[in-house]
């Protein structure tokens, strides 16, 4: 099982939810890149569970940087980012392996590994592993800043509550902060829905929208190293992802070419367009909008009926654990991190004309 993302800048995740540690080995960060540990810390803090609508698992998520950094700068060698696990409660998973949870990868992972994988808390497939992703991406921020590339995400939909506003800095109010929707009014409705859903022991689906600005016209590559393929690849690995769309996405199926085609024009002397932010894998100069649909979290407080492997019959299952009623809010920093890693990787590759 390869848990590596990227080719020029490579992030290899490691660890298990209830093992001793998680983290990432980050390779390819250019020599001399400043390493901002405070920013790393604040990004991990943002990813951390703890707000009212997320899991109660408490991890201090202290990240050690154990190699590849000297006097605050990247040396060019692999950077080991290590985060010890502390608050795992393995007893919550005593139903495994007999009763694989519905909607979770427990059973596939068990068969995939001939029973040798650590099943507790999802093992290596747990969203806990995204802490290494967020830590790695935070170290790429300097590379993006250098090119004036901005990447920002927010929660655009929870259930049937949808915002048409694009991602931007969150307002200061509680709802905006907790659901991470940049549309203050909609955020309130979302928070209400989430709290209600949680109260009923249920969970709900959501959508995260991501906007990339500042990619130079022509940035990227055709075919399998293009923007859309590489972004779709990385984003679909976020736990719970079920769809990824570019621009207006699925609505494109209904469009006519005469309306959809967006002419090129000059803006500040540079050619650009108002249409898709990427065409054929390469940037057009327009903002690149990506939509990521996330399913309702599979762990719910309600009793569920599922197969008991030891008896071969279905029986009821109560998943205790500490889980999120909705994935979107916590997925915001993870989606941002994922996109940052993909774009940074491509940036490095572009330097050598490949």
């Amino acid at each position: 099982m390869s848990m590596r993302l990227g080719e020029s800048i490579r992030t290899t995740l490691f660890g298990e939810s209830h093992g001793p540690a998680v983290g990432a080995l980050l390779e390819g960060i250019p020599v001399g890149t400043p390493i901002d540990e405070d920013y790393l810390k604040s990004e991990l803090e943002r990813r951390r569970p703890g707000s009212g609508i997320s899991s109660l698992r408490k991890e201090c998520d202290a990240c050690e940087i154990l190699s590849g950094v000297h006097q605050g700068k990247a040396t060019g060698g692999p950077i080991l980012l290590l985060i010890r696990n502390s608050d795992s409660r393995s007893s919550d998973y005593s139903f495994l392996p007999d009763q694989p949870r519905p909607g979770h990868a427990d059973l596939p992972a068990m068969l995939n590994s001939d029973g040798f994988a650590d099943p507790r808390g999802g093992g290596a497939n747990s969203a806990r592993l995204t802490v290494g992703l967020v830590a790695s991406a935070s170290l790429c921020q300097a590379l993006l800043d250098e090119q004036n590339i901005s990447i920002i995400a927010h929660v655009a939909a929870i259930g049937k509550i949808v915002s048409d506003k694009g991602p931007s800095i969150l307002e200061d109010d509680e709802a905006s902060q907790r659901v991470r929707c940049s549309d203050q009014k909609v955020a309130k409705e979302m928070l209400e829905l989430v709290l209600e859903t949680r109260k009923s022991g249920d969970s709900i689906g959501s959508r995260v929208d991501i906007e990339i600005k500042g990619l130079a016209l022509g940035f990227g590559a055709g075919w399998y190293r293009g923007l859309e393929p590489l972004l779709a690849h990385a984003l679909m690995a976020i736990p719970g992802a079920r769809a990824v769309e570019f621009g207006v996405g699925t609505k494109t199926a209904e469009a006519y070419g005469s309306e959809y085609n967006s002419p090129w024009y000059l803006k500040g002397g540079e050619p650009t367009t108002d249409g898709d932010g990427a065409l054929g894998g390469m940037a057009t100069g327009a903002p690149l909008i990506i939509r990521l649909t996330l399913k309702p979290p599979s762990s719910i407080a309600k009793e569920q009926i599922t197969l008991n492997l030891s008896t071969g019959e279905q029986s009821s299952l109560n998943v205790k654990g500490r889980h999120d009623p909705v994935l979107g809010p916590r997925a915001v920093p993870i989606a941002e991190a994922t996109v940052k890693l993909v774009i940074s990787d491509m940036l490095q590759r572009c330097k050598k004309d490949e």
Copy 2:
């Protein structure tokens, strides 16, 4: 620019739309795999333009197998699949590079390559390159058959005309055959819409649905080598792709966990589920449904207004060429080929417990 797909079975596309040849170098096909040239030919025939609703470019698409095959079997060495171009009409592209087409990658590709790429007919970014993809995938069919894995696609939507039927063998009537929708009644409506659209000099969007059956429970891997990430990656490289969905896709955002979660049960003694065909990158035993949204073809017969780089002003452009009014029907064999290559690659990798 890397035009390679896969790691264990690797397909590297090469060629330009109006250059001397296109094709693929296919690596990793296991020694002894039977090579069925007739099937290769029939698959290329299926990809070929020529039906009433597609481009009039006529390529005989004779494919030479120039290495890696001995006495009808794969030797284990790289297989060179070469298709000469014959019917390219470069004069149709005399508007380039001055007037990059709206919706096409002409301008990004030009800047991406500092002006050195062959711009004619989209150059290396042309859908013409998918001929190498289809040829390669046809040689993987034997590997899929061995595992009883079936992969089938059809056109599920054109404009607002949508079929709820899944992909299956096409009926024999003209409409089914031309639009490649397995829903005979809907196919008729689709054909009408397409012909009308074409008549008006316009183009229209579409959606292709793909169904993968026969993946063993647990097949795949977590994270970046999982089913969803690798399939999304490869499918988003199909020219015109704008969204990729798994299972019910974007509708998942509206679902509650209590409904969405699909319990495991025994079917013929094997655990399975009625829900998603893949969870966390691994197969669940249920059919895996993928939806691919394709934009309306960017080349339309209608006059378009776009930037003229030589003057810096917008002016009108009439794209002659020979183009398709809708991408879906021709994308069916291309989407199937793409999925076949991804699954074959994963199959090979699974053999070594990775």
Copy 3:
């Protein structure tokens, strides 16, 4: 800078000699492989400085296994092997960066990294990094045992003292143990020479011979994934390596084909040969002999004259530090580890017919 070895089984080294830690991220170990921590420990012990003829740096080299192992078996996920540095004396390197040591990579590494690499003790280029290599290889031993493949090395030459005996289990006497030569009589002479050399503040060159037994006829691959290319690649990365030879190596230049060609014959019903253990990248069934020449350690107690970058003139340099008078003895476990990783990687790859 990529510090990764292997494709199917991948070892990525990390760390710096005087940084907080060294180690390796080991990927691709098949699920269910038993993890023998005692063997890991004993191999690290064997690599450790401490005998009379090696560096006095004392590292307890306690290795933590922080991921990819569950209940004593490999889960299939990346295995993080972490060893904290404890006994580094950075003050010994106060002459850097002004006075790069002759024969060391100090100056090239400094320019390679625009001055950002950690120069202390050779930084990421230090032989200290081989601790991760040895730890990783110890976990591959189970894979080799399964195939009855044995890999053993010994010191075949120090200065002009050469043994014609192949590698085998070391005798129990002090000389054999300290110089790691399996030829008891020669070992004594070697030890004397080394002690004398050390006394005079000098260092001396050496040669390590490695024997691989048990590779099945046909094991390997042609061209760039063949036995000789992959072994030469990995072995030439061992600090101080200057030549790698297969079979009789450089003496082949003087041979006539009529003598050198070694006919095939049946042995126990299986074809084999008495000649080279590998031909064209593939095993012949005969033992595969590899010779690795190592230069005299560059750090010597004698005063040396070298460039002072701050003045632009040559001046004298006394390298304190704690160094080995000869590389061979300590290179024995490192060469074995390197070969084990290469062969294990190839073994995994063979499983999928590539």
Copy 4:
């Protein structure tokens, strides 16, 4: 079987000695690189059999460039280099598969491929495949010229006749030209020895020395992407290679550190050394000398006794074919090509600070 060399500039060989074609798919050549077809042609001519001391097989070796080049410049896409086979005489190989040749990879290759590989003329393992290598390398020359890097090889030893002169432009006399030794006097002796050897139906070993000049101090990388590891890897894949040495190579084993260490000094204001051209994978500014030992060609005119697989007994074998009495002279352009590809690949990688 992967026949790919390089990561940033990738050469994938394909073809079989007696199949329809050989060649290479060359990826990663920067956009805009001028493509000099005349130089390509002259390099292939230099590799071609035909001088008095080499095989009589006559291949016109016309190389078609079928993709990746537009208006004489690289587009950035994969470059397909195709050479049709024409003069293969498969009847010469009627002894296969029953009587595998001694010293050849016939038998290992047969077992490696479960009998599916094309055995004629060595199939995909034939030195015939190096034509794709030489063609690819010729297209990298422009990248090396840009950096003032020169790579030159010559025959330094045949049997016991050894030249101490380094590689340089060959003199015009017949002997120098035929044996490709830059030491005119020694070349004469070599030619005599070769002709004599050939007359007696035998073959003889040789050594090729390669000199790389112009690598900037610090060029390269540590560990597995270093100069020595990557060069050793690629050179050991040249058919017949048995040893690769850097600098004084195997003689290093006898050296004392106090003599061997070569101090840094300023030369034209730049630091350099008179010692090894590479240390720890990185260039020192001194010329990098590599020695490649090649075995005597395994195909000889003399009768040989070897195993007959159909009878299980040894019997006599007369290999007809058209073969070389010594590998060195023809290996000169192949070794140069190999080194050019490795250095060009590293050059591209350096651009992105990896």
